[in-house]
Symmetry: C3
């Protein structure tokens, strides 16, 4: 069995263990998830107490679920959260009692347009009880009485959990990857992000990095708000590039959305998306509409944070049980890790240098960097890259700009810069 | 009879009264015109004395016409200013005498390429006597003597008249509309501008406006120069957007020309001209060539003043009696008033706000601005508009920029901003 | 015989005299060349001593060639520098001795892909001996011994020669033309540049110029480095536009490359290349790859220097004896001089003015610049040019920008500016 095969089987077993866990914006399901992922990368788990004010918001009570069932009057269990974590209205308050079909209908959530799907519905900030069912299940209910047994707790002394892992680099400047951890029982729209980031961290841990890498798993919206209340100022000082990740489990083109503030995060994204194997992807303009970039890119923070996903963000199975574990592709997850690694290595290459011999060209021949014989043959791309790097390393051009102007790959430009640095001609001015 | 029909009949009767008046850059014809228009809007009439230095110019003597005729030697009146106000060379000095045909020819102005047209010719700053005739009239003249009787006065103690009307708004910032008042006996190229502005003022008077609106009727060139000498400094401080109007009486596409300095005046013009019903129009780059924008946009003032007209500025009938009253369309004039009103209401909507909750999103749910239940359905455009407005209201984006970035109409964006303002989330920073 | 014919015969005789001279980056061949060109323009010849440090480089010993031959063992001369100056490896050290064919092969340079061509090969900074032959000559050599007799001197007390000529203008601001003087026995890639510049200088000398014109002939790379070490600071202060010239002897489109810093040098180039007769040419983006712009545009100097050449820079005959005297077109050289003159006259026209009457238009009629009679005819382009120049002469627009905005030729705009200047309306703010 090849190493790749072994790793895929290992990945599949993680998916099997993580998928059935009932996650929400708080609660033990999230902690259990972080514990499993910590077998790969030893995450720190930060706990933010319920009731804490975070900007305009307040961290809600911690929600946990003991049991959630609907039985008919014969005692047959018709709906059970143990069958699928989507069966409970996320953040449902407890309720036990017998209700008529009419009354029950008001507390059931289904999708008439996708009759076989259990929808993902939540009510975090308004107290409601409810269960989510497929439209088929709803249609099968006959007039009569139903026994509802929702045993949940909403603990004002609980907390919200965030997993964080940092790989220090030579620079204090950070590259951030974040995925959300609050969606239960859905594969593409949630689970994949957490696991891809964890696998990326595992890879970067084995490298010598210039940048510091930060990995964050937190619930959508209230999670990023809590984290920004906690460490937003530091991020403002040090964040070089951030990436909000979603929907990366299917073999579809990589798409992305620019940050609100622009700059290097977008430029590297643009560069990588032009690589032949990613060129089907689309780089969209910024919008404050989708996930945690709404918080990271709020005008008060305006952090260099972009978003990355695969395929259509409004896919057919979105926010329902149709986004199943079976549809996850482990190959797609590995491709995603490769894509993220490409982004990271591009940032690592994209330094800015100062030419120490700015007046005329330095004499490259005497340093072994240039042929000592002049002839009619054209220079190699590698030789031309030296001239480009020396000419534009005035402190105002990063290597990506030089690569663009010279129509050369960032890799060749970066190698030329390193040769010049070794020869004492250039010095990096990145800190 | 509908209200619209009544208004059109009323408008037609104004046109009947205004058309025959002999206007020029000074004189009683202009005052009479302003008096009639003041039945709709009570204009202030400013008088600038002849001889006043205005920048590099001097206000000329006031010109009035008593009589202007050419008779043949049998005493038949061949040309008479009472038949058409274009028959006199505008600003002709007085002359009475008998002249040979040869001598007369030097003082006649006609258009060989449009033989039936009386041309509009003027000589404001050089003393000449003359009459304007159709080429057909000129060709019919036979050798012999002609009796010329031009009774005009050029009064060094006269004055130049400008009509002005101001509708104060909540802001000192002004939106200006100006049309010229000096062209006699032509419908499209003059009379329409004055009347459309007056009808616009009548409408705006009935609204609560943020901006202060200023309406100016003055002769071309010397009129705007005189006004700028009088109030140019104040305009420099307060002018938000200005519009020089011409040729709006025919049912043709609305065209416009950008201001010299760019900015909001042009952006709103661009926005309105993209509306479906105006999309045949062309927004031209600035040029210092046509009418009073030559003065308003001179480099020393460089005011945010654009130009608006309909159709081809070099239309066939231009500056001749072919630009007749009969060709005026009252529908076209009403359309023009609508177009101007659209510009005004777009400016009124295009405010700039500051988000009072810039760090992460404010919690919209608790303010009733966001659903308390999370589900799979897409957000409405109205809901997305709230997020756009909050995200970009950092003091650097006006609502038009937000509308463009979000591909939403200014109206929806403006309504979202008002909702946020009412909820205490935004505050307008326009003064 | 026409004057043009006479001048072409004269030019051809200069080519005959200059072509056979053995030039290099130093040595008597260069001095002899400058002496001949000084019959047209009295160049100053600057001498930079061997051994002088110039930035990161050192001026090499002066190289001169007495004799360079290869004979077979029968005493037949097989290769002789007197037959073609390319036959010696440029900067070959002296060597006399009998060598086997095998040993000789290591010291011969030829071009297998162009078997009839003698290549141009140099080894300025590494000591080598060698001869350059056609591949056909090489193939004809039979096993045996060969007598090599290379009598060259490398004088550490010699010097590097640069020819300079300055035509002072009213302004201290300079326009520079430079061509290289180091390539022996090639027509297009060298000789033409020197002679075209000299002929241009001859023309400009007969004009009254606003700008100061500087003409420089120097060896590539070490020549520009030496000159910049000598006068780079002054160039930084005064250089308005510089042009590095190469390959202008063949009737091919004029191509150019932008400067590194952009600005007027590029704008004028762009403007001239849009002229109908030059529109086949291409204006390339800056690259630090070809000739002396690598030094003039090094980041420490970043001078406004562009490059100009004709045809494909990687032409078939490049750096070999195929770039022969016979392929030179004297017509092409004259066309080149015309092209350069067009660039110069465009710079001369492209002044920047300040309007002394910036508030409203000045009254042109009273200054005889505008008709005193107003009529329906359209204004001439010359009249409109006056309005454009006055409106945009706010100190921030040069005449080329005004020409572009008004879609008028620079010539008409310049004439309008001169009229306004004569009327006391404008003043030039170029120094």
């Amino acid at each position: 069995m090849s190493n790749a095969q072994k790793k895929s089987i290992e990945l599949a077993s993680y998916l099997d263990r993580l998928f059935p866990i009932l996650r929400s914006i708080t609660g033990n399901g999230v902690r259990e998830t972080f514990l499993i992922l910590s077998e790969i990368i030893p995450y720190d788990v930060l706990e933010f107490p319920s009731g804490t004010k975070v900007f305009d918001w307040e961290i809600p009570p911690e929600w946990n679920v003991e049991k959630a069932q609907i039985k008919d009057d014969l005692g047959n269990v018709l709906v059970d959260v143990d069958d699928h974590p989507l069966h409970i209205l996320n953040y449902s308050i407890p309720f036990s009692g017998t209700v008529s079909l009419n009354e029950l209908q008001d507390h059931l959530y289904s999708l008439p347009e996708r009759p076989e799907a259990i929808p993902y519905v939540s009510s975090y900030y308004k107290e409601r009880w409810g269960m989510c069912v497929s439209e088929q299940q709803r249609q099968a209910l006959k007039p009569g009485n139903y026994r509802v047994d929702i045993q949940t707790s909403l603990d004002p002394n609980g907390s919200l959990s965030i997993a964080e892992y940092v790989i220090p680099g030579r620079s204090k400047k950070e590259i951030l990857f974040t995925a959300y951890s609050c969606h239960p029982g859905m594969g593409n729209d949630e689970m994949g992000g957490m696991i891809a980031l964890t696998l990326l961290a595992d890879r970067l841990l084995k490298k010598k990095n210039f940048y510091t890498y930060r990995f964050l798993l937190h619930p959508e919206t209230i999670g990023s708000i809590s984290y920004l209340a906690h460490r937003g100022k530091e991020l403002k000082q040090n964040l070089h590039a951030g990436h909000v990740i979603a929907n990366i489990c299917w073999e579809q083109p990589f798409n992305a959305k620019r940050s609100r503030c622009g700059g290097k995060v977008d430029q590297i994204l643009e560069y990588v998306l032009k690589h032949e194997r990613y060129e089907q992807g689309v780089l969209n303009d910024f919008s404050p509409l989708a996930s945690d970039e709404r918080q990271y890119c709020s005008p008060g923070f305006n952090l260099p944070v972009c978003s990355i996903w695969r395929g259509d963000p409004y896919f057919q199975e979105y926010h329902s049980s149709l986004d199943s574990k079976e549809k996850i592709s482990t190959d797609a997850i590995w491709e995603t890790v490769d894509f993220f690694e490409e982004i990271c290595s591009s940032h690592e290459m994209n330094l800015t240098y100062q030419n120490l011999f700015p007046d005329c060209e330095p004499q490259l021949g005497k340093r072994g960097l240039y042929p000592t014989i002049g002839a009619s043959s054209r220079r190699t791309q590698e030789l031309e890259a030296l001239l480009w790097v020396l000419n534009l390393s005035d402190g105002n051009h990063d290597l990506l700009q030089i690569a663009k102007k010279s129509a050369t790959s960032l890799k060749i430009i970066s190698e030329a810069a390193q040769k010049c640095e070794q020869a004492g001609l250039l010095v990096s001015i990145c800190k």
